[in-house]
């Protein structure tokens, strides 16, 4: 039971790190442009493909990682310049729809490239040795990628926090998010700040892409959809637009997601005789083993409840600018 519990906690922390890397990128862009960048998941997917093709080409891991980050950042900058800049400041929904279209371009582009490279749609990810296998701590075995994912997530996020609060560019991003015209008035070059935000967010997504692909073992052009939705939920839980909120929300979501999986079929996992038969039956009824497969539905019901009752996140207040 203890082993089971520890494994679930590590799963939650590792998923939380992945969501945090994604959610911070979403929150950065949203804070400045009021744009929910749905293509963010596809940026992450492209990163996984660049990593895969670099490793296929026989590049050593550090070089592959640098290639992946550089390529992904270039794509992030290109999509900002080509698609998002012309409609900056436009209606929120127009920006959201544009990001859907950008996502479609990235997905179909990847499909086209794999096709031209004579690869199947779904390819096995050449997980590097550092990220494969398990770590044994006493009786607990944990996939190594989860440990590294959690650790690197924490380190990178700490670095991002320092960058945002200690450097001129980071503070400019804060200023732009706070009040874009005012930031312009005091001489902050908004185009530069927005581009920097897209570059940073793409770099974070690329790390998430590598971790995700190593966990999943295989990649396809459509894998970004679910992570970006999760990152969005994480950002909503933390209060949309807040960077630290996004991190808190991501780890909260990691734990929230583990709950249905962990509780589903819990009656069968308990050692016989641990609880009375009545409680055993009750547990089996309330937490059927199928509960885990409804995980996404449960998480989205939670999202809708959050949007309704705490639209400013678990850290924010109740105020709502939207409803008259």
């Amino acid at each position: 039971m203890d082993v089971y519990l520890i494994q679930q906690i590590v799963n939650a922390l590792s998923a939380g790190s992945l969501y945090a890397l994604m959610a911070v990128g979403l929150a950065l862009i949203f804070g400045i442009l009021r744009l929910i960048n749905f293509a963010h998941g596809d940026v992450m997917m492209v990163a996984a493909y660049i990593a895969a093709f670099s490793l296929f080409a026989g590049l050593p891991l550090p070089v592959a990682i640098v290639t992946m980050i550089a390529g992904t950042v270039l794509i992030g900058l290109a999509m900002e310049r080509i698609a998002y800049r012309p409609i900056r400041g436009g209606p929120e929904v127009a920006m959201l729809l544009t990001s859907f279209a950008v996502g479609q371009i990235l997905q179909n582009g990847t499909l086209l490239v794999t096709r031209l490279a004579s690869q199947p749609v779904q390819i096995a990810f050449p997980t590097p040795d550092v990220l494969s296998g398990v770590v044994a701590i006493g009786a607990v075995t944990i996939p190594r990628v989860n440990v590294i994912g959690f650790g690197s997530g924490v380190i990178i996020l700490a670095g991002v926090m320092l960058f945002l609060t200690r450097t001129r560019t980071g503070l400019s991003m804060h200023a732009a998010a706070d009040d874009l015209p005012a930031a312009q008035l005091v001489g902050i070059r908004v185009n530069w700040v927005v581009a920097a935000a897209f570059a940073l967010s793409a770099a974070l997504a690329s790390v998430a892409g590598l971790l995700y692909a190593s966990q999943a073992g295989q990649i396809n052009p459509f894998l970004g959809f679910s992570p970006v939705l999760k990152a969005f939920i994480a950002a909503v839980i933390g209060g949309f637009g807040s960077i630290s909120g996004a991190v808190v929300g991501a780890y909260a979501l990691g734990f929230l997601e583990v709950i249905p999986t962990a509780l589903g079929g819990i009656a069968d996992i308990l050692p016989p005789g641990a609880v009375s038969p009545e409680i055993h039956d009750l547990l089996a009824t309330v937490f059927p083993s199928a509960l885990g497969s409804y995980r996404d539905a449960i998480v989205f019901v939670f999202l809708i409840l959050m949007l309704l009752f705490r639209p400013n996140g678990i850290l924010g207040g109740r105020a709502r600018e939207d409803t008259p």
Partner: protein, 354 residues
Amino acid sequence: MRVLQMARPTLIVLLAASAALALLQLSGLAFWQGLAINFAIFVILVQALNLASGFTGVFSLGHIGFMAIGAYTSAILTLPLATKAEYLPNLPVWLEGVHLDMTVGPVPVGFVAATLIAGALVMVIAGLVGAVLMRLSGHFVAVATLGFLVIVRVVLFNADDITRGSRTFSNVAPYTNLWWAWGWAAIAIYMAWRLKFSGYGRAMFAQKGDRWAARSIGISILRPRLVAFVAGAFLSAVAGSLYAHFITSFSPTVFYFDLTFRVITMLVVGGMGSVSGAVIGTAIVLALAEALRRIEGATLLYGLGGILLAVFFIAVIIFRPSGILGQREIDLEQLVAWRPRRGRRRGPGSATPD
């Protein structure tokens, strides 16, 4: 006599459309008939989204979820008893004995009943979901409705006893033909048109234009939004039922984001809030998608079509954000008139708020 005079343009268009359908039916060109049925189903879906989003400004990404519920409901209801016992052995008791597969002469009344039941069921669900979600605005409602789409998908995948889960649901009777599809499409267009120029429609556009101003003159915000959301859901369910009985075998994967995005593209290209624009946008995007599909097939460059469609969509949003027609309408009277209209009476389109 006067009524006939006023309805004249509509009658002419209806007659012309029926003649075209009859010709197509007689021609026996299976490919074009299939395309025409697809066109009709998309027209219904786009009108549904137009109602829910174009009229109210509340962007719904969840209507394909309603389509999915409509498709599964209608398909299950119309299964003959013998097939049902074998195909879905674990159905709940109250569903076991239902078989709306009867026909009266050439008319499949069971199909009509199943479509209407599916529509009614979806309206109840949309009423409940909408009462909660229509309180949100902007992109938050978009993401919340997207959440609804994900929830529907998860449930369809996991409710094995009723939907066969991820396995293909086949054995659906091929009731949908040109006449059913275009009959329902005509109803959808008529519904959207009537609603647009009704008091409810004015309220929808008013609260879209300026929430606070609408509120200040006593226009409720929640009610018109909810009416539009539920009416759109009904039409989506109808489209789902037609789709199920057209394609005859499908799985939950169809009803997801790609289809949602396709319908959005059609609506945005035509003009959000325009009933005739929705039909035009559907035709353009459908033709473009079909042409690109053929190019993909010929060149084997799979993905190229999706890229070009998305680029087209972004170009429309950047260079013509209100689509081809915006909220305006094509004046039928002018369309069928022998000579240019004298400025005697204002067509309904010109009275639309911009």
